[in-house]
């Protein structure tokens, strides 16, 4: 024990410089220890999410080749580019609107159900919200396609119903609704609890009609939550790809249907269209989604007052 102290004393006496470098090493070691367990996750997120995003943004300005604004100008001047952006936005708004108009009342009814009925509804909605992609596209065709079950059933009883053409705007909105309506209900259901039964009763005591209650109490209170749901469904819908590709891939390659996601996918898969435009469209999609998500956060901030 004593001898080891003696040995260690000798270098210490002369070692002003080494001691400080050891200090630096210790800080570096401490710094590393502060980050080490999180490094694998941060490295994965950086290489698979952050760097690709930056690469797309730079790419839309021609970097690393030669910086230019041409890609943006081209995209917004071409019918194809403008059409894709407009149709995607319209599709997002239409889908979110349907989810709001049908899902909103549904969420209210489900929130007022007795527990047993409610859990049946919740599981149905959960299943539907999880059903998406290619399988849903096929299910849609099997039900509402030219030879779908509903189409055949209606024609059987003599109603000459012609379903919306697969790959048309309407068919996409209808297919998207399968996941959007349940998602909207699941998103807004927790908020329905803030409308107290007492408020309804108080309004009734004051001789307010149902309509008046909703006009002056219910909707103003719920508005931020409904808006938040709308924005999330909008973000979701403009970014959908698998189901859009399965239903509208053909229509897209012939130019009948233009969507941002389909234009990008088609360009990457078949080389149709220009890659420069894909960069710009990808960044436009990023901007749209970021804008919607920022509005969502602002709205939620207002909405959460009710919980404090």
């Amino acid at each position: 024990m004593g001898s080891s102290e003696g040995i260690s004393l000798a270098p210490r006496r002369t070692a002003a410089a080494p001691r400080s470098s050891a200090g630096i090493l210790e800080t570096v070691g401490g710094g590393l220890a502060n980050w080490l367990p999180a490094l694998p996750l941060l490295a994965l997120a950086a290489t698979m999410l952050v760097v690709p995003t930056i690469a797309l943004i730079l790419g839309s300005f021609g970097i690393p080749h030669s910086p230019t604004l041409d890609y943006w100008v081209d995209t917004f001047q071409s019918n194809g580019g403008r059409g894709a952006i407009l149709t995607s936005v319209r599709l997002g708004i239409a889908s979110a609107m349907i989810a709001l108009l049908l899902g909103g009342p549904l969420a209210w009814f489900v929130s007022r159900m007795v527990t047993a009925t409610r859990s049946v509804w919740l599981s149905l909605l959960n299943v539907a919200a999880n059903f998406g992609g290619i399988g849903l596209a096929f299910a849609y065709m099997a039900a509402l396609g030219t030879f779908g079950m509903v189409t055949l059933a209606l024609q059987d009883v003599g109603i000459p119903w012609i379903p919306p053409e697969i790959g048309s705007f309407t068919s996409l909105v209808m297919a998207y609704s399968y996941t959007n309506i349940p998602l909207f209900v699941l998103l807004t259901l927790p908020a329905m609890g803030i409308l107290r039964q007492e408020w309804l009763e108080a309004a009734e005591v004051c001789a307010a009609s149902r309509w008046q209650f909703w006009r002056f109490v219910g909707l103003p209170v719920l508005a931020p939550f409904l808006a938040a749901g709308f924005l999330l469904i909008f973000t979701w819908s403009i970014g959908l790809y698998g189901i859009a590709y399965a239903l509208g891939g053909t229509a897209s390659s012939t130019g009948q249907l233009r969507l941002i996601t389909l234009q990008i996918g088609l360009n990457l898969n078949t080389g149709v269209g220009s890659e420069e435009r894909s960069y710009v469209l990808a960044v436009v999609l990023l901007l749209l989604a970021t804008g919607a998500l920022l509005s969502y956060r602002a709205v939620m901030k207002r909405a959460l007052r009710w919980f404090t």
Binding site: A33, N34, L36, P37, A38, P40, L41, L42, L44, A45, T47, M48, L49, V50, T53, A55, L56, G59, L106, F109, S119, S123, N126, V127, A129, N130, F131, G133, I134, G135, F138, A139, Y140, F147, G148, M149, V150, L152, A153, D156, Y178, P182, L187, P190, G193, R210, T235, I238, G239, Y241, Y245, A246, T261, G265, L268, N269, L285, L286, A289, F307
Partner: protein
């Protein structure tokens, strides 16, 4: 009157949601389906041929093992990061939260495009291999596990547990293994199942980064759709199998969360307190 409107809305939505699922189910058992509302007769032969169809089995198998691998990778990297940002270095949170938002802001097809560009400029050899799918899926699915685990660690008061464990002389690794993980089981289960489900049915990344070289359930389904109508019955069988897998997963999530779906969605965590 309003009762009638209510029943009409509820019934209409149930019908709208249920009919496609019923149609697919009937398709998978239909012998011949010409012009009537229901198939002409029923048969089990599509199911029999499906379970012996090598291509279908392989597609299912790829989806299953990829989902499992992504789940394991995400647990290995997310749990230590969340633990560390709670007990040691809160500055990590800035970066993890920012990363967790990206898969929600960026559609998967855009992420796939970005990854394709970055990888073809740096390590082109990884494109077309299962490795790039594994990494890509782990990146787009990690937020589900992240939010679930973060919520579970907060609920379990991991900071206190960690202090207690340290006083008893446990190393961080021991604390994680014997104290933290046993206390966040529900969060791990719920988030983990969503990770699996995200990878299982994923289409954009697989199509753009690997294509036919990694044919999973989604790619094979699309191929069956693109072929002539004679493949509809096989596709129906595959769709139902996929659906059942995802159904089991979603039931598991609800069970693990005890109905608090809200906790897994961005920003709605504060709301779930009211509902639960």
């Amino acid at each position: 009157m309003s009762r009638l409107a209510r029943s009409l809305l509820l019934g209409g939505i149930v019908a709208y949601l249920a009919v496609p699922m019923i149609a697919v189910l009937l398709y998978s058992f239909s012998g011949r389906w010409t012009s009537n509302m229901l198939p002409d007769y029923y048969t089990l032969k599509h199911w029999q041929s499906a379970v012996t169809d090598e291509r279908l089995i392989m597609a299912l198998w790829r989806s299953i093992w990829m989902g499992t691998a992504v789940l394991i990778l995400d647990i290995l990297i997310v749990v230590p990061a969340v633990y560390w940002q709670r007990v040691r270095n809160p500055r990590i949170r800035t970066f993890t939260e920012l990363s967790a938002v990206i898969p929600f802001v960026l559609p998967f097809v855009v992420i796939a495009f970005g990854i394709l560009k970055v990888m073809s400029a740096s390590v082109p050899k990884i494109l077309g291999t299962p490795w790039i799918i594994l990494l890509g899926h782990a990146a787009i699915a990690f937020p589900f596990l992240y939010w679930a685990v973060d919520g579970a660690m907060s609920a379990a008061n991991v900071v206190r547990l960690n202090e207690a464990a340290q006083i008893c002389g446990a190393t961080p690794l021991q604390t994680l293994r014997y104290v933290v993980i046993p206390n966040i089981g529900a969060g791990l289960a719920a988030g983990g199942m969503l990770v699996f489900a995200t990878s299982f049915g994923e289409f954009a990344l697989v199509q753009i980064l690997a294509g036919a070289r990694f044919e999973n359930v989604s790619l094979y389904s699309l191929d069956l759709i693109a072929q002539t109508t004679s493949q509809a019955e096989k596709l129906a069988v595959l769709t139902i199998i996929t659906f059942v897998v995802l159904f089991i997963v979603s039931v598991g999530v609800v069970y693990a969360n005890r109905g608090q779906i809200g906790r897994l969605l961005p920003g709605s965590r504060a709301m779930s307190g009211e509902q639960g």
